[in-house]
């Protein structure tokens, strides 16, 4: 069973995503809402895929890109951004920092996202 770590500070969004992924795809989904939580859960669960929002309200000023770099040092293989931010500059920064796929929340439906994730995990 695939294990996904999903990081988003919106408590309603991440709970609905968790249940939808579990029910529709039978994946194990861990949800976190902060830098430290995501880092610790990653170390404990070694997910197949890390999906995260770019917007990270971190009290220490760390960005999601700092988090991705830290997780890559710990063995992160695939990173997906699922964000409200959809400007080309955001996508470019993400690509430069090794993000494998970038999806914008306002441009994708849940079903489309599930299909994309199935394809990504199949490869």
């Amino acid at each position: 069973m695939a294990v996904i770590l999903f990081n988003d500070s919106d408590p309603v969004f991440n709970r609905v995503v968790k249940l939808k992924f579990q029910r529709e795809l039978n994946w194990e989904v861990k949800v976190t809402s902060s830098y430290d939580e995501a880092y610790n859960v990653f170390l404990n669960s070694k997910p197949d895929l890390f999906m995260t929002e770019i917007v990270l309200n971190d009290p220490q000023g760390r960005t999601v890109f700092d988090l991705i770099k830290a997780l890559k040092d710990k063995g992160l293989k695939q990173t997906i951004v699922l964000s409200t931010l959809g400007q080309d500059s955001d996508k470019k920064s993400a690509k430069e920092l090794g993000v494998d796929h970038y999806f914008v929340k306002s441009e994708i439906s849940l079903l489309q996202l599930l299909e994309e994730l199935k394809k990504i995990l199949a490869n």
Binding site: P11, V12, R15, V16, K18, L19, K20, R23, S109, L111
Partner: protein, 154 residues
């Protein structure tokens, strides 16, 4: 059917559904809306919305609320009650978990709340003070007895 059976029937119906219509009022002006809900064993209803939404703002000023849940050829349930904000953060998250489960009842259902944007959610509990069901299963054009049944909530 005795009261306990009536309550179970209504609760079963409410658990099979996940969308309710609500009506709120401020300064004698009604407003209605449609919401994702969760209902507990005591017929308390729960929903989440954005704090700055019209329904939240109106309910914070006037907690009187009316609810309807309806399914064609099955049942309608009408409820009047009093809304109160859930302020304890853990309780709020526990209800959000239940609401996420309610959202699973509709295949492909994605809560419109999430499309609106913003994360300042407010969660309300509605304690009912009146509840009745309307039987919609009969297909006769009229019926002798009233199709409404008031459910005594004790």
């Amino acid at each position: 059917m005795d009261l306990a059976e009536q309550k179970q029937e209504v609760l079963g119906f409410l658990r099979s559904q996940f969308i309710m219509s609500i009506a709120v009022a401020e300064d004698n002006k009604p407003s209605s809306s449609i919401l994702l809900y969760y209902v507990d064993d005591e017929f308390n209803f729960f929903f989440a919305t954005h704090r700055n939404s019209f329904k939240a703002q109106k309910l914070l000023k006037n907690p009187q609320i009316s609810i309807s849940v309806w399914e064609h050829k099955n049942m309608m349930v009408q409820v009047d009650g009093i809304a109160s904000e859930i302020v304890n953060e853990q309780d709020k998250l526990a209800i959000i978990d239940k609401l996420a489960e309610s959202a699973m009842k509709g295949q492909d259902f994605w809560p419109p709340l999430l499309r609106i944007g913003g994360q300042d959610y407010i969660v309300f509990k509605i304690k009912p003070n009146w509840l009745r069901k309307l039987d919609l299963k009969r297909d006769t054009m009229t019926q002798e007895e009233s199709p409404f049944t008031d459910i005594n909530l004790g």
